[in-house]
Symmetry: C2
Subunit: 336 residues, 2 copies
C-alpha cells in the first residue's frame, strides 16, 4: 500500500517491480559513449518509413514490443499502456496504442514523460488497479525540430544554449509479481516558471522545477544526495545542470559526483550537440539501457531518475508566454 510522506512523496510499502526495459535510438545516439548499452540502433533515422513521424512511432512500437518480449509475458498480459510524446496530440503514443490493443492512458509531461508514466504506473500497480503496465515514450530530432522550431530544410544555425532532441524510445514494464528492480518512491512535481522565454534554452527553463521536486523529495523522506548511487536528471543539459546544482546548493544540498544528466550522457563532447540531448526519448533510452544495466550488475543499488519537461507550445511562445517546467521522479532500488 502507498503511504504519503511529507507533502509530496509517495512511498510504496510493497514496491512495484521494473521487470524489463528496452531502448532504441537513432544513428547519432548510436555513436555515443553509451552505444553498447542500447538494445537497437537505427541505421537510418527514417527507419524505412515515409515520414519522420512514422519512424518515431515505429521506434515506440519496437520499444514496447521489445520490453514485453524481454519481460517474457504476452502483450495481452499488459493491462495498461501509459505513454505520451512531444508531438501535437501525442500522436506517436495514440497511434501506437491502436496497434497494441491494450487500454491506454495518454499522458503529457513533455520530456518528463518517462518518469510521469513510471510514477503513475507504479501507483496503479500498488493500488491493485493493474497487474502489469507498460510505461513508454519516444522523441525524434526531425519531428520535434520541424514542429517546434524551423523546417529542417532551412538549415537554421543553432544558438549555443540549444539542445539536440534525442532520436530514441524507451519502455519499462512494471509488474506486481516477478523479478525486477523495485520502484520504492514516486514524486509528482509542481509546474514552476521563473520567466525563461527562449525556446533554445530549455535547460534553464526546466532547472527550477527539477530543483523544487528533488528538494521536496529530500525533505519529505529525510534523505540526502549521498544516500543514492546515482541521481539522474532527464535533459537539463550542460547549462541547465549548472543552474540546477546552484539552486540545489541554495536549498542546502550539495550535488556531487553521483549526479548526472541524461542529456549530457547521451552524446560525446565531440558530437555537435551544444548543451546536450533533450526530448522524451533522452531519459527513456538512458533509463532502459545504461541505468538498468548498472542496476543489474550491482554497480548501482539506489537510483533517483527525474525526467524534466518544458511545457511549451509554438502558440504559447508566439503569444509571448514564458516556459514553465515540471519534473517528476522515481526511486529505483536494485532488486534482482
Amino acid at each position: 500500500m502507498a503511504k504519503r510522506m511529507g507533502e509530496n512523496t509517495i512511498k510504496f510499502s510493497t514496491p512495484p517491480k521494473l521487470i524489463a526495459g528496452y531502448s532504441i535510438v537513432g544513428p547519432k545516439e548510436g555513436q555515443s559513449p553509451l552505444a553498447k548499452y542500447f538494445d537497437y540502433i537505427l541505421k537510418c533515422d527514417r527507419f524505412n518509413e515515409k515520414t519522420y513521424e512514422l519512424a518515431e512511432r515505429k521506434m515506440l512500437e519496437q520499444a514496447i514490443s521489445g520490453a514485453i518480449d524481454k519481460a517474457n509475458v504476452l502483450a495481452t498480459d499488459i493491462n495498461l499502456l501509459l505513454s505520451g510524446d512531444l508531438l501535437n496530440q501525442i500522436i506517436s503514443a495514440s497511434f501506437c496504442a491502436r496497434q497494441l490493443q491494450t487500454a491506454f492512458i495518454g499522458v503529457f509531461g513533455a520530456c518528463s514523460t518517462m518518469t510521469e508514466s513510471l510514477a503513475l504506473g507504479a501507483c496503479l500497480i500498488d493500488g491493485e488497479c493493474a497487474d502489469r503496465v507498460a510505461c513508454a515514450t519516444c522523441s525524434h530530432f526531425s519531428t520535434a525540430e520541424r514542429q517546434f522550431r524551423f523546417p529542417l530544410e532551412l538549415g537554421c544555425q543553432r544558438p549555443p544554449t540549444s539542445q539536440w532532441t534525442v532520436t530514441g524510445a524507451g519502455c519499462s514494464i512494471l509488474a506486481r509479481e516477478g523479478e525486477g528492480h523495485k520502484i520504492t518512491h514516486a514524486i509528482f512535481g509542481k509546474v514552476i516558471d521563473l520567466g525563461i522565454n527562449d525556446m533554445n534554452n530549455m535547460g534553464a527553463a526546466m532547472a527550477p522545477a527539477a530543483a523544487d521536486t528533488l528538494k521536496n523529495f529530500f525533505v519529505d523522506t529525510k534523505s540526502k544526495p549521498s544516500d543514492f548511487d546515482l541521481i539522474a536528471t532527464g535533459d537539463l543539459g550542460k547549462l541547465g545542470s549548472e543552474i540546477f546544482i546552484d539552486l540545489m546548493e541554495n536549498f542546502g544540498y550539495k550535488m556531487a559526483e553521483n549526479y548526472a544528466d541524461c542529456g549530457q550522457m547521451v552524446y560525446s563532447s565531440k558530437q555537435k550537440s551544444f548543451m546536450g540531448g533533450s526530448g522524451c526519448g533522452c531519459s527513456a533510452s538512458i533509463m532502459n539501457s545504461y541505468i538498468l544495466s548498472k542496476l543489474d550488475s550491482g554497480e548501482y543499488k539506489k537510483v533517483i531518475l527525474m525526467s524534466t519537461g518544458a511545457l511549451v507550445s509554438t502558440t504559447s511562445t508566439q503569444q509571448g508566454e514564458s516556459i514553465p517546467g515540471v519534473a517528476h521522479a522515481v526511486v529505483v532500488e536494485k532488486g534482482r
Copy 2:
C-alpha cells in the same frame, strides 16, 4: 482497495468521493436548455482576455478554484491536479497548473479527458497515493477551430456531420474523506480505429471506441444498460450516437431512454450546431452541472459517464492517417 473485474474494469471497495464540481461555459452554451445548471456563463467568449487561448485558460482556472471553493477546502489541501486539454502540448492545463502550485499530472485523451482524469484520480485516491485531487479540463470553440481546422476569419462553411466545440470547463474534486457521490468503478478504454478519416465527422470516429469500452464494462461487471439511471457519452453527437446505439445492439445491448449524449444535450435543436457539441469541455461542463445536480436531487442514483476522444492532430490528418478513438468511463453513485 481496488479490485480488477474481468479484463478491464476496476472496482473500488471504498469508493473515492466526488465532493464538489464546478462548471463554466461560453455565451452560446449559456443559451442551452441546461443553462440554469451551469455555475457561470461568460458574457463574451474572450472573457476579457487578449486571446482565445488566454480565455480558455482563465475558464479552467475559474473551474478549478470554483470547485475547490465549493468543496470547502484550501488549494493547498489538493495533492494533485490531473488535467489536460485539446491545445498542442496541453498549454491550458500546464499554464493553469503553474498558478495553482499543486503537483501536476498532465493527461491527454482529447475529448475523453474528463473521465480519463476522474478514473485516474479515483485510482490514486483509492491507492492512498493522494487524499484529494482536482480533475479538470476545458475547451474553447475558437482555439480548437483555428488549431484543428481553419482560421476563424475565413468563415468556412461547416459540413452537416460537423460538431461544435463547446466553450466551457469543468472541475471535480475527488477525496477519500468527506460527503460526496461515490466513484464505484472505472474503466480505461482501448484505442479503436475503424478507418474514419474525416476531421468533420468525429462522432463516427469515436463511436466504435465508446461501444468497445461500454461492452467490456457490462461483460466485466455482469451488468446491463437498465441497471443505470443515466448512461452518458461525452460528445458522439447525433450521428455518432446512432452509430454507437447500432454497435451496442450488435454486441447484444439495447440502449434505451436512459442513454444520452452530452454533445446532444448541450445545445438546443434551434442552435446551429449540426451534430451537436464536442470538445473536452462538453462532458466536463455537463457532468459538473446537470448530472451532479440530478445526483444531488436523487433523480439519478447510478450514472455511467463515458467521455469520448478522437486522437487526431493536423499532422496525422495531413499525412493521410485515419482517426483513432478512445473512451474512458466511470460509474458515479448517489452518495449524499
